[in-house]
Symmetry: none
Subunit: 209 residues, 4 copies
DNA sequence: AATGAATGAGCGTTCATTCAT
DNA sequence: CATGAATGAACGCTCATTCAT
């Protein structure tokens, strides 16, 4: 992998990501970002060309890191039983979304500014689809799964449900025991993961015993 | 229902909703809205007091209409077998989200501006939860459902999956036959509905035959 | 005198005068005036043609009334000794300025909008100059006054000093016993009147004995 | 004196002062000021934070300079006969008001926007009162003045008369020989100064010979 | 390589006024 | 005769960006 960004640039991107996820692209001014990053207002144009281009770089940067992360993960589950692999995939996706909800929070919201970059995310999603497909087929072949649902639908359910929980805390926190800022996300993650495991294995017709 | 808004106001709100859903609240200027609505730039302040207040009214307006719509729907399925009711609920929610995806697109995105109004949406979501709970319990009692998954998790799956499909057209259209602007949404709706029916009934342990 | 204005118009002018004196011409919106007068926003344009024309009418209206008032006053002092006449004139001018300080407050401030109307005020001031001139000459002739200061300078001193006191309450109230809103103006009026009597009679070389 | 303002800021303040004195605070738009100062419309917010804050700075700036100027002046008349000192004070105040009539023109008009800053002007006026008090007392002690009029009343007469002349040119120019724009102020200044000298010395009971 | 001063465009809002009724 | 809905212009201000250094 080429080292595309300097440390300073990464510093700016990190802060920009956080602010944009919180307040939206238009709701975040370059002054906000620069002031929080303790740099000159001109730096964003200087480093990235423009605010909009910065958005592209930010996007690329996050996809890049996420992709790296995924291929590391994929290695760790290479040799396992399909049901274990499926469980790990679900756990992994949910955990990633919770961890980088800043990013995933704005990916679909603010992508109007980086229309052409959506493909990269699509490519990435298809890595998941491909992996899910492998696991499903393997499970069916080995008899542990009964049905062959479409992998893109499985992925849709996993990501959609998780993002919904992250973005609608006001709703979901009514159903988790604790409501404190710190513990909500942990408990919500657990609850949605359990839900998804149940759902997905049900769809797969997993014969538990 | 009290006639809260005049026709002209509704006209403005409709256009505002569309634009805000597409480009975000800050990304949509009052000039954008007024120019598309063929009215004077002063009209938004004139009718609603301010852009921000317009946002509140827009939100109230949509929640109001959605709530009305839902209670009409709820009546139509009052007397039915649980499995039919469940099927209708899923179909209804998916259809509503597709129909008003403009609104649902910005509800969670732009609600930072109308923080106190989130409760209204939460109240509304709980109508669904309550209804789902009824249906699940009735189905279990009558023996048609085997398991008793949490209704909030069912709702999460339904709304989350559907919104994901709506918002990630670039991804999902790879898996539907047609890609034209007009047909995509129809086919995507059908596909996600089928997926959800399968998932939900699987989780419920529905004994089909 | 022709009845130029209807009661409604006078009602509007009274309120406009008060607000404009307090907050300035540009600082007072037609909405402010109309809302305080409980009339429609369109009425000022309807009755007077425009805000600026209303200003002219307001000006004319006040000069008219002041002029009437002055000729009544002039009658009451027609037959008196010069020193009594002078005393009464000073008392009258000071009292009028205090009473109509709303008006006099904006006459010089806001007259940029009614440039051509200044002449009317100038005409009016010259009534005073003429009267003062008469009194001075009579007093000198009768030997009660020693010097013949210019009447326009006497007037300048009287009006200038009085307006200064009215407009610089923060300064002058340091030197009057009471500071309450109600009593300040009464006491300030008395103090400035005493000062002016002393000054003017000193300039006239009035032999009190 | 601390260098509080840059040259550019002072340039803006000078133009703002002139325009505001002429057309009032609300009557002067930031666009007016910037266009006359040949700068961008954003500069006033950029340099001063807002139009209103600019007004405060403008006020501080002028009071500061006036105060400095006065203390220089006070030094030059320290050692003199009371009648000479009084003459110089009158001459000084009149000259200052004519020179900075722009400023004095709006101080009392537009101070509603800077209510809390009035105190600074009041403090300043009291420097005059104190000085006048000294001179009067010294003159009475040395026998050159007969009466002891209140110094605040002397000041009121001086400032009030002068400002009246400045603000009512239409009236006063009827009594000065020349009416041209350039010469009016010079001649009016002379006339009002002579008037005030006569008045004040008369009140003091000055034994000329 | 990096800055801070300065810019022009555009923001949401308020203004005095007009117009259809 | 009077209204209230509606308008276009202008308001003060903030924006992302540029430019001279």
């Amino acid at each position: 992998m080429k080292k595309k960004f300097t440390e300073k640039q990464i510093h700016i991107l990190d802060i920009a990501e956080e602010l944009i996820a919180k307040k939206g692209y238009e709701g975040t001014s370059v002054r906000d970002i620069c002031s929080k990053a303790n740099i000159n207002v001109a730096m964003i144009s200087y480093y990235f060309g423009s605010k909009e281009k910065m958005m592209s770089y930010l996007y690329q940067y996050r996809v890049l890191k996420t992709r790296e992360n995924f291929s590391e993960f994929a290695d760790t589950i290479k040799e396992g039983k399909p049901e274990m692999q499926m469980k790990e995939i679900i756990k992994y996706i949910v955990a990633q979304l919770f961890k980088y909800n800043y990013f995933h929070g704005f990916v679909t919201q603010e992508l109007r500014h980086t229309e052409n970059l959506k493909d990269e995310l699509m490519d990435f999603y298809q890595l998941f689809v491909k992996k899910l497909d492998e696991v499903i087929k393997k499970g069916v072949t080995s008899g542990v799964f009964t049905f062959t649902p479409k992998p893109e639908d499985i992925l849709t359910t996993i990501i959609g449900s998780t993002l919904f929980v992250i973005r609608n805390r006001n709703f979901y926190e009514l159903y988790v025991p604790s409501k404190s800022e710190e513990t909500y996300f942990k408990e919500a993650e657990k609850k949605v993961r359990m839900n998804l495991l149940m759902s997905v294995f049900a769809i797969l017709g997993y014969a538990a015993d």
